[in-house]
């Protein structure tokens, strides 16, 4: 612990504004020099084909747009270095520069291309694909705020996906879909309970046990898939899934409607859960107690909070939340289960939790960023833009490393995260 504090070298404020300003200027120069390379107009569609409210497409001249945005970025960079801005202005500067660079990139990608770029496709898939990442991150937050490290998110997603597919197939019809969510959630909770017992009762190393649970989850679900689900697919894996439900009024708002209010029940549930957990953790007595247990269990115990009970409850709750995220993978998305289908989403959820500094709203922002960079890669590929998808896909992970290395503001876990509590 002391070992680490001495090792941390934070850049001083002055160095930081040079680094930030320099980065903005560099991005601005890229916009001005690289993204002005294509001639012609870029066309952005702002509504999906067949939408009830049609928004006209936007045409922008590619090169001039990128040039103007580049100049803006450079100007912001210069201001950032010269003037000591207040906190809100610094944040605004980051947001504006990133957005400007993104628009310049999109304008460059589509400039001169006969195929228009559908921005709604981009936003809709970004939001939908972030669902399991957000739920996984929320699972991690519930566990880790109470002091138990949850690496097993991946396993909870996978078992949740398996159970949801199996239950919804066996029960069938619409009731089956809802039962699938319940089944996925309970199974995720069961995996959470296994983690809780191992970590809290048997004091096993939480990171190790999490990894082991992931191996076990992959083994069990793949075995059961090959032995039962695949041969008797018409019973166990019928591939039922939820259809989108458009919220009346809100769903008809141009751009925002199709992105946020014309989706499956999973998205709406994710919003609710997100707000509930954010408020519960930071605005209620319950949350104060959870955080006390995660930061300083001895002190929490002294004032009469049941440390172990709090941890059991939160880890199981977290497992249930991740289980719902798993259910999305099957009944919320493609319908049928396939082995190893969580495919690292749990680990991305873990990264989103860390990137979002163990806060629900932060985690959502990170999750959206991660799923956006993935979706952007797919969109750019269809426009045959010479940026390899794989390089774009690396960005979220690189960003997480940069965040934990403290290069852009340091992230810190709850103080007692990962430490078993044994009453003295």
């Amino acid at each position: 612990m002391t070992a680490l504090t001495t090792a941390i070298r934070l850049p001083s404020v002055n160095v930081r504004s040079y680094v930030a300003g320099g980065t903005y200027i560099a991005l601005g120069l890229i916009n001005m020099l690289v993204f002005t390379g294509h001639t012609g107009d870029a066309t952005f569609d702002l509504s999906l084909p067949g939408a009830s409210v049609h928004v006209p497409s936007v045409h922008v001249p590619g090169a001039p747009t990128a040039l103007a945005l580049g100049v803006l970025c450079v100007a912001i960079g210069v201001v950032r270095v010269v003037i000591d801005l207040p906190r809100w202005a610094k944040r605004l500067a980051i947001a504006v520069v990133l957005l400007a660079t993104l628009v310049a990139l999109l304008a460059w990608s589509d400039a001169g291309n006969t195929v228009s770029m559908n921005l709604l496709d981009l936003t809709q898939y970004t939001v939908v694909n972030s669902i399991p990442i957000v739920l996984g991150a929320l699972s991690g937050i519930l566990c880790e705020r109470s002091g138990v490290i949850n690496i097993a998110i991946e396993g909870q997603l996978l078992t949740g996906a398996f159970a949801a597919a199996a239950v919804s197939s066996v029960v069938g019809a619409t009731l089956g879909l809802w039962m699938g969510i319940v089944g996925g959630s309970l199974t995720g909770g069961l995996v959470g309970a296994l983690l809780a017992v191992m970590a809290i009762k048997y004091l096993s190393d939480q990171i190790i046990i999490g990894v082991v649970i992931n191996v076990l989850a992959l083994g069990f679900t793949t075995y059961l898939y090959d032995r039962v689900m695949a041969p008797y697919g018409n019973i166990w894996n019928t591939g039922n899934f939820f259809t989108p439900y458009k919220i009346p009024v809100l769903g008809d708002i141009p751009i925002i409607g199709p992105t946020f209010f014309d989706s499956t029940v999973f998205l709406y549930f994710t919003y609710i859960l997100l707000i509930v957990i954010q408020v519960a953790l930071f605005r209620t007595r319950w949350g104060l107690r959870v955080r006390a247990v995660g930061e300083h269990p001895t002190a929490a115990d002294t004032v009469g909070i049941k440390v172990l009970w709090t941890r059991y409850r939160n880890v199981i709750l977290g497992g249930m939340v991740a289980g719902i995220g798993g259910a999305w993978l099957t009944v919320g998305s493609t319908g049928s289960f396939s082995p190893g289908m969580s495919n690292g989403i749990g680990y991305i959820g873990l990264a989103a939790m860390i990137f979002g500094r163990w806060r629900p709203f932060g985690a959502v922002a990170a999750a959206l960023l991660f799923s956006f960079s993935g979706q952007l890669g797919i969109e750019l590929e269809t426009l045959s833009v010479p940026i390899p998808t794989q390089i774009l896909n690396m960005l979220p992970y690189a960003a997480t490393i940069i965040a934990v290395a403290g290069l852009v503001g340091r992230v810190r876990a709850p103080a007692a995260d990962g430490k078993p509590y044994v009453k003295a």
Partner: protein, 435 residues
């Protein structure tokens, strides 16, 4: 937790012998030592019980998912014996197929007497050793980091680092026999060490937790591999549209013993040498002593004048090098010519390394044995799927169950009502995100 001594330094032998006449006590000592070891649950006993329990649970899983068994149980009222024998037969068939695929198949002996190949008798064992080789190496990678108090989840990423270099050197360059192998192996070791070194450097300089950094690097490396494999002028085979590396040059193929590949060969010798090297390093060298001290108690190591940061960087370099060596073995063997590198070549070697290190209690000898056990499971798993209706994934279940029990000795002790406490050998890493 970091104030504990490394588990290996804890006395794990027999407890004090009870008061008895000297002669009797002398005669009795060996026996009582064994009994104490069993009732107090020494690490070896806990490991054995873990494997046994996992096999029992696996057998139950095989039986309850077997349609034949389920039908027999439907009529358990009239024919209870049939139900039990169907259950037994189902599990026994799977496990004997596992054994025949991994260790020894009696039918090959009779075949040898009737003009068949004698080498075929040893084929299952050879396959086991072949499968075990990369597992031992990634296991060593995870184990040595464990001993310095770091949890290396990144063996997969380091493996990819090594695989990229090995595949590149093996394909595009033509060198004389022997030298080509050496160049590829050394290149892979350097490739893996670089990826591991990044983790060590970041931890030493900024305190970034190695678990997070290694998980992220695994994905970065996986994407890098896919990018290289699908770029024409980089690592993609000529005239290919799929992401696949070129076939490696014949001079770069690791030699193997008799019969058709995949078979055990030079790779296994390299793995054993690496295990011996790690054992020497940990128990006989100053560097190893520093690693263990840093792992047991970084503050004490610092007070004693050791550079904790330098140990972190060095141990991650070595861990990465071992994972890179594993990649060299995989890329340069397994057929004539070996199958070219693709994204799925990486498989689960990284996470298998963790399970192997856990089962081997982070000791080089234990890692070799654990690697052989899991190698046998993988070798036998193919045969299980081929000769019974049980899918090969039963192996994944067994692997997961074994390490679950190994990672939680109190659970095994609760099941078998053993007394005393045996560490997992991993106490040095039991700490949170903040170090």
């Amino acid at each position: 937790m970091s104030e504990q001594l490394p588990a290996t330094e804890q006395p794990t032998g027999p407890g004090p012998a009870p008061e008895r006449p000297r002669l009797l006590a002398d005669l009795d000592r060996t026996g009582s030592a064994i009994i104490t070891a069993i009732t107090q649950g020494s690490p070896a006993v806990v490991t054995a019980l873990s494997i046994f329990t996992a096999l029992v649970v696996g057998a139950v899983l095989v039986a309850v998912t077997d349609p034949v068994v389920l039908r027999a149980w439907d009529s358990v009222g009239y024919a209870p014996g049939a139900a039990f024998s169907a259950t037994w037969n189902s599990a026994a068939a799977a496990y004997s197929a596992l054994f025949e695929g991994a260790i020894f198949n009696p039918s090959t002996v009779s075949a040898a007497f009737h003009g068949g190949s004698v080498a075929a008798i040893f084929y299952p064992l050879s396959l086991t050793v072949y499968q075990a080789t990369p597992l031992i190496l990634t296991g060593l990678s995870v184990a040595i980091a464990f001993r310095a108090g770091l949890f290396n989840i990144g063996a997969a990423g380091q493996f990819i680092g090594g695989a990229i270099v090995a595949a590149w050197l093996a394909a595009d360059v033509n060198m004389p026999l022997g030298i080509h192998i050496l160049v590829c192996v050394v290149g892979a070791i350097i490739g893996g060490a670089l990826v591991g070194g990044i983790v060590g450097e970041l931890k030493a300089r900024t305190g970034a937790h190695e678990v997070i950094v290694t998980i992220m690097l695994n994905y970065i490396m996986a994407n890098l591999l896919l990018y290289l494999l699908s770029s024409h002028n980089l690592l993609q085979a000529p005239r290919e549209t799929n992401p696949i590396a070129p076939t490696i040059a014949s001079n770069a193929i690791l030699p193997h013993v008799g019969g058709p590949p995949p078979q055990a060969g030079l790779g296994f010798a390299l793995a054993l040498a690496a295990a011996a090297g790690v054992a020497w390093l940990l128990s006989r060298s100053t560097i190893g002593f520093r690693f263990r001290t840093v792992g047991a108690n970084p503050s004490a190591a610092r007070s004693a004048g050791m550079s904790v940061e330098r140990s972190w960087v060095l141990v991650m370099l070595i861990a990465g090098a071992l994972a890179g060596l594993a990649a060299a073995v995989v890329v340069l063997s397994g057929g004539s010519p070996p199958p070219p590198l693709v994204a799925s070549t990486v498989g689960t070697y990284g996470f298998d390394g963790i399970t192997v290190a856990l089962l081997g209690r982070a000791k080089p000898g234990g890692v070799v044995l654990a690697g052989l056990l899991f190698g046998a499971l993988y070798a036998g798993g193919t045969n299980v799927a081929a000769s019974t209706s049980v899918p090969t994934d039963i192996v994944l279940v067994l692997e997961g169950l074994i390490v679950l029990f190994v990672a939680a000795p109190p659970l095994i002790k609760a099941i078998y009502r053993l007394r005393g406490a045996a560490g997992t050998g991993m106490e040095a890493v039991a700490k949170g995100w903040n170090g």
